[in-house]
Amino acid sequence: MPSTIRKESGRTRSASLPDPDKTRKSFTWKDAERLLDSLPGGGLNIAFEAVDRHVRAGYGGQTAIRWLGKGDAREEITYADLAARTSRFANLLMAHGLERGDSVFALMGRVPDLYVAALGTLKAGLVFTPLFSAFGPEPIRTRMEIGAAKVLVTTEALYRRKIAAWRDEIATLKLVLIVGEAAPEGCVVLGPAMAAASPEFEVAQTQPEDRALIHFTSGTTGKPKGAVHVHEAVVYHAISGRYALELVPGRVYWCTADPGWVTGTSYGIISPLVNRVTMIVDEAEFDLERWYETIKREKVEVWYSAPTAIRMMMRAGAEAAAPYDFSSLRFLASVGEPLNPEAVVWSNKVFGMPFHDNWWQTETGGIMIANLAAEDVHPGSMGKPMPGITAGILKRTESGVEELDTGQIGELALRPGWPSMMRTYLHEQARYEKCFVGGWYLTGDLAMRDPGGRFWFVGRADDLIKTSGHLVGPFEVESALIEHEAVAEAGVIGVPDETAGEVIKAYVTLTPGFEPCEELERAIRGHTRKTLGPAVAPREIVFRNTLPKTRSGKIMRRLLKARELGLPEGDISTLESDET
């Protein structure tokens, strides 16, 4: 076990939360609300808190977004620019007859219009859902159907490749906006429409419990779940960004996550802007030299990234980092999956400070457990609960749940009631209610608490796969696999990978007339990449004659995984027919 990384007292004193344990004891939600203004005339609106109030307070000239395009393009967007552009977008939605509560989806890379669309939608009182642009057509379509998409904002290339073929089958869809200056038939070009719209818009008088965001997350069975978040979430976005990420007005902050995933929205759009930082947005994907150069050139102070990227930096070695000046950095944080102790230690050596791991999930809307700036870092631990958050380790019993002692492994659970907690799963109230037992929200993650009150991640309690920080439901992958004519049955698991955490592996049986061969493996993999996109498609497919199944015919993924890892097979009393 690597030794504890101690914080010097200078660094502790300058932290946003100099004495976290004291604040944990005294904290009330009123303390968090003090970071916000409410709407003039009452109500609470995320976009107003993130943008317009700063302009009113005289900070319109500060850069809100410093956008770095692929190649050398760059654009500085001030808070005043962002206020005007989001107002234009809101007016555009109104002009097309859209109403409060309607659902706006975005599917595009990290371009300025994505940020404008997100905040403009919220400003107008509509509900925003970002989709990961590397998704294939199938995950996009499923999510747009569940979310009853009224508007889609995308690019011409993505529209042609992934949407056009089935667009007419989404009955709710009224408007497709295409970023840029030209659009295919049946779509509206965003550029001219924005130019024609007024830059003045009175922010919708949304109330704290009005819907704001829907983030989709995977389940082990069935369709993806749409976690519903409301405008009150901004209370938590504000305080958690301040405490867990050191987001202080004026700082330069870079969140490398894509807004297609919840981190990229909560901490890649809302929290940083609410805290009035200058945010770096890089359109390009991970590229070691580009990233190091960006930190140096833009004088990044706070950097929020993910274990997969950090492990890629490690692979390149300390020598690759040596030529760069990282003296602007003051705080590093990581999320998406547990950050291994070696990576924490490595970052402390290379950047002069460790990456601070934190833990949360789509449903929680914000960081729940974190290593904070003023606290020593125990590499491998996710830290302690944030002020206002109560976490426990539970065991499910016949009558409910029981809390476990220090050192015991159980399911990580949280006491509900924080502002950014999901309010339901869209159209699936029963599935939502199943998450709560005995006054706790059960997270589905297994963890352990040490005597110091720190939490340590152990694994998932279910079959969900964590790959490159993305949560993938095996069912969605299996469904795509069996769409291929050669595949009869499929079982999908995550297998450990030193860079991605886990990678997706599929076990399939073939329909009569097909023989296992390399060519077929590639054809099936190609099919899944086309329908699901590379992040969700299996990296490896193996053929079996039969898969292990229960009496009710359910494929036992757990058993496939235990065998893959060489672990004990556990209770196999329900096994009816085995793998061959």
Binding site: E285, L288, A309, A320, R522, A523, G526, R529, P534, R539
Partner: protein, 82 residues
């Protein structure tokens, strides 16, 4: 091997990792991530495949030099000639 041979080998490995791609539709200047939709794990796997095939260690800093078939074939030819 000529640059042309390296291009063919590169595309062959690329297709193994991303079998959704059609070899005939891959342009010389298509960026493997921006145009061909590989993600960063795919890129790592491609680097590993090139290592297995040619015994060539491609450092992280050189990933940009295999970002298109044209760049990669020139890079492989130069590195392996050395």
């Amino acid at each position: 091997m000529t640059e042309q041979d390296f291009r063919a080998a590169f595309v062959e490995e690329l297709i193994k990792i991303a079998p959704d791609l059609e070899p005939d539709e891959i342009g010389d200047n298509d960026h493997i991530q921006d145009d061909l939709d590989l993600d960063s794990m795919d890129v790592l796997n491609l680097v590993a495949a090139l290592h297995a095939r040619f015994g060539l260690n491609i450092p992280e800093a050189d990933y940009v030099r295999i970002a298109t078939p044209a760049l990669a074939s020139a890079y492989l030819a130069a590195e392996l000639a050395a």
